[in-house]
């Protein structure tokens, strides 16, 4: 009996010591304010940007990107392209387990890629269109076979298409997997109340656990930026994304909080109907590239950024930002030149063209439209703002029932994601209706070439033509604005706008 007492006493002492030792770890819960409510938490079906923020903590992927948009390995330990570029061999990182304890191996990779390709309603099919199949070379090596070389593939695998879910859980749950996702990220799913919160807690078996300092992450969707900020200031949130630019100045003076920012990989622009429907022929801005050039020359991009974004954006004239390695230096940002704009309009024979600018009812789009309207008036344009609900505007754009459309794109790590679907003939996002064989050829070249220099050459050539035809007039690239408590450190600012939890900790 004394032995049991002794053991119990010893155990209690150990327990106490453990509690005391772990005391500094208390309250390592990150309450994160999202700008929208994510859609379904299934990497195969997911369609929203904000869902990817949650995935950053929930689901690891084969690759990730870093601050310079370079591909770094995550679940894949290493990779190698075949000489003809039609096969990608991936060595799977050993020792990785899913949240249900199942192991990650080449068979799991195969399962996931096939799931992305074949599941009903999958949003990844287009991304993996050129992948014909996956071979299991050995238990920890998988080979993806492609029908043609495709350089953007690595970037796709650094996003949802590269996310690996537990095959056992996915098979058991079928299409209800999103209600209870089982992935391999640093945090596992606990619960979700739609439009209210998503709760994740630390997965002790994570392969990179030395980098994880938080115990719990709670994502709270709060659509109104003012309210989101108010929550941060009142202490109910520790972190908010997409802070409103107008709030930056005031928060900078508050020492309780820090602000981090980086230029996005997306862009804000105005799409012109140059060939999507008959309207392209009847309206001067659609049928005459000189009119579009005049429109662009009448814009003062710095002014737009100043007024609309309070300076929290980088001016741009291409689908990638000026500091991006793929930016075509041969087509620099034009300066405002109202005189030349007027001359071009006179040359085109339409000194006072009328343009109907379809504008979604979001606050940014409305501001851009109003500022643009005022600016191009100086050159003689009469812009009519047509406010349209976002859902309706997509429909109208698809049917070509518009002349100009204020539309943003959230951006993809690989430049192909910012240009192919928009400028290649008949692609789903080609609302402009732009179609030129030489551009299609160049775009294909940019996708199949494996060498950075070769791809860059192709993009330079594309830029020279497309930026002269102007199916899209690019305006600027926003800054991602994150605000968080000064007690938090370790944030990496990466241009895709996602917040990685590795390294984040409370001091």
């Amino acid at each position: 009996m004394t032995i049991t007492r002794l053991t119990r006493g010893f155990g209690a002492a150990l327990g106490l010591a453990a509690v005391l030792a772990s005391a500094p770890m208390q309250a390592q819960t990150l309450r994160f304010g999202l700008a929208e409510d994510p859609d379904v938490l299934d990497p195969t079906l997911a369609r929203t940007f904000v869902g990817r923020i949650v995935f950053a903590a929930l689901c690891d992927k084969l690759f990730d990107i870093d601050e310079k948009l370079a591909i770094v390995p995550q679940l894949a330990q290493s990779y190698a392209w075949s000489p003809d570029g039609k096969a990608l061999t991936i060595k799977v990182r050993p020792g990785v387990t899913f949240h249900d304890g199942e192991k990650l191996d080449a068979a799991a990779v195969k399962f996931n890629i096939e799931r992305h390709k074949t599941m009903a309603g999958s949003n990844r099919r287009g991304e993996l269109a050129l992948v014909t199949g996956v071979d299991v070379v050995d238990p920890m090596t998988a080979r993806l076979n492609l029908s043609a070389p495709f350089s953007p593939l690595l970037a796709q695998l650094a996003d949802r298409a590269g996310m690996m879910v537990s095959p056992k859980a996915a098979q058991a749950a079928g299409d209800k997997f999103g209600a209870n996702p089982v992935c391999s990220g640093p945090f596992k799913f606990v619960e979700r109340v739609a439009q209210d919160k998503i709760v994740l807690e630390r997965y002790p078996g994570y392969w990179n656990k030395s980098q994880i300092f938080l115990e719990k992450v709670i994502y709270l969707p709060i659509v109104d930026a003012t309210v989101r900020l108010a929550n941060l200031k009142s202490g109910q949130l520790d972190f908010i994304e997409r802070m409103a630019p107008s709030d930056v100045a005031a928060l900078k003076t508050d020492s309780r909080f820090k602000i981090s920012k980086i230029t996005e990989i997306g862009y804000q622009g105005i799409t012109m109907n140059v060939g999507k429907s008959e309207l392209a022929k009847t309206n001067p801005i659609g049928r005459d590239p000189r009119v579009r050039e005049a429109f662009e020359l009448a814009l003062d991009r710095d002014g737009i950024v100043q007024v609309v974004m309070e300076g929290e954006a980088t001016v741009g004239n291409q689908w990638v930002a000026p500091d991006n390695p793929y930016y075509a230096k041969n087509v620099p940002i034009p300066k405002r030149d109202v005189a030349r704009a007027k001359a071009l309009l006179a040359e085109a024979g339409v000194p006072n063209p009328t343009v109907t600018l379809m504008t979604p009812t979001t606050s940014d789009a409305q501001k851009i439209a109003q500022v643009v309207q005022a600016m191009v008036k100086d050159a003689g344009f009469d812009v009519k703002i047509q406010s349209t609900e976002f859902a309706t505007s997509l429909d109208l754009a698809d049917k070509g029932q518009y002349e100009a459309y204020v539309l943003a794109w959230s951006g993809r790590a690989d430049p192909d994601g910012n240009v192919y679907s928009f400028d290649a003939c008949k692609q789903p996002l080609n609302y402009a209706g732009y179609c030129k064989q030489e551009i299609d050829d160049l775009l294909n070249k940019s996708r199949t070439a494996g060498d950075l220099a070769e791809r860059k050459k192709a993009y330079d050539q594309i830029a020279a033509v497309v930026l002269k035809d102007r199916p899209i007039v690019y305006l600027f690239h926003r800054h991602w604005l994150w605000a968080y408590t000064a007690k938090l450190s370790g944030l990496r600012t990466i241009p895709d706008g996602l917040v990685r939890v590795q390294g984040l900790k409370f001091n």
Binding site: D224, A250, Q306, T361, E389
Partner: protein, 290 residues
């Protein structure tokens, strides 16, 4: 024979005149009327009264606090808030008046039909009215406005249609109570056509409660327009409307509160005045409620 207590006014004064005198005695209602007239005048005379063009942007004067140059300050792209508030009165008044006109022009005839014709048409109309009333008003308005597209005109139509069932119900109830009065039966007996009876005998009795309800409905319609604009449906920028100004202002509540305060105060004053007026009319037209 004891002298009967006579009314202060001569007996020949029409019911309308008597009602107006009663109304004029109520100070609150008169105050409301004055404010309403003030806003109407402001709306009509806007081009002469507003110090700046409400659409004139100015990059150098963004979100400036109220000052001598801009009494109400400027907004997020440098427009004068006072001028926008003045011009915004047009949109709000229009929204209030037109929606209610739409509701009246559909509601009263349908209500008359239901109350007077009775039986099957009444049953059908009543069920459909019940269905519309069972759907929350704002939801119906949002769905209609989303369906028609975001604009002031469509918001007015949406609010008007959503408000119609109230007038149908009201008209119908009045018709039902008046229908059985002796003078109506007498008119029938004499051989008047239904239409004549409806217009000459029934309608005048329906008018007083309709006026009251219409005035109160205008107040509700102004708020409804502001609500729809707040959600992004309704008057779209750059055209000024108090509701859409509030929608933009909510993003700047901390660093430019004047953008939210003045349109909100204007809505409040206008709606309050219509409410006061409506209350006064209710008391004036039906002394029992005084």
């Amino acid at each position: 024979m004891a002298t009967l207590a006579l009314e202060v006014l001569p007996r020949e004064a029409s019911p309308g005149r008597r009602a107006f005198v009663r109304l004029s005695r109520r100070r609150a209602a008169m105050a409301g009327l004055v404010v309403v007239v003030f806003f109407v005048a402001l709306a009509l005379l806007a081009p002469f009264v507003a110090p700046y063009d409400p659409l004139q942007t100015s990059w150098s004067a963004i979100r400036k606090a109220p000052s001598a140059a801009h009494w109400f300050g400027t907004d997020e792209i440098g427009r004068d808030v006072l001028s926008r508030v003045i011009y915004g009165a047009r949109a709000s008044l229009l929204a209030g008046l037109v929606s209610v006109c739409i509701a009246l022009s559909f509601g009263v005839p349908i209500g008359l039909l239901a109350g007077y014709a009775g039986r099957w048409s009444d049953a059908l109309i009543s069920r459909m009215t019940d269905a519309m009333l069972a759907t929350p008003f704002l939801i119906l308005a949002i769905a209609l406005a989303a369906f028609l597209g975001p604009s002031l005109t469509n918001a007015m139509i949406a609010i008007g249609i959503s408000a119609t069932p109230i007038f149908i119900r009201l008209t119908r109830a009045q018709v039902l109570s008046v229908k059985v009065e002796d003078y109506v039966e007498a008119a029938r007996a004499v051989g008047n056509s239904h239409l004549r009876i409806a217009v000459r005998h029934i309608l005048p009795n329906v008018v007083p409660p309709l006026i009251v309800q219409a005035t109160l409905a205008i107040a509700a319609a102004v708020i409804a327009e502001a609500s729809l604009s707040f959600l992004g449906l309704g008057q779209q920028p750059p055209a000024p409307s108090w509701g859409s100004m509030l929608n933009t202002a909510k993003n700047y509540v901390e660093n430019a509160p004047w953008m939210a305060v003045w349109p909100g105060v204007s809505i409040f004053l206008l709606v309050l005045s219509f409410n006061l007026l409506g209350d006064g009319l209710r008391d004036a037209l039906d002394p029992r409620h005084a």
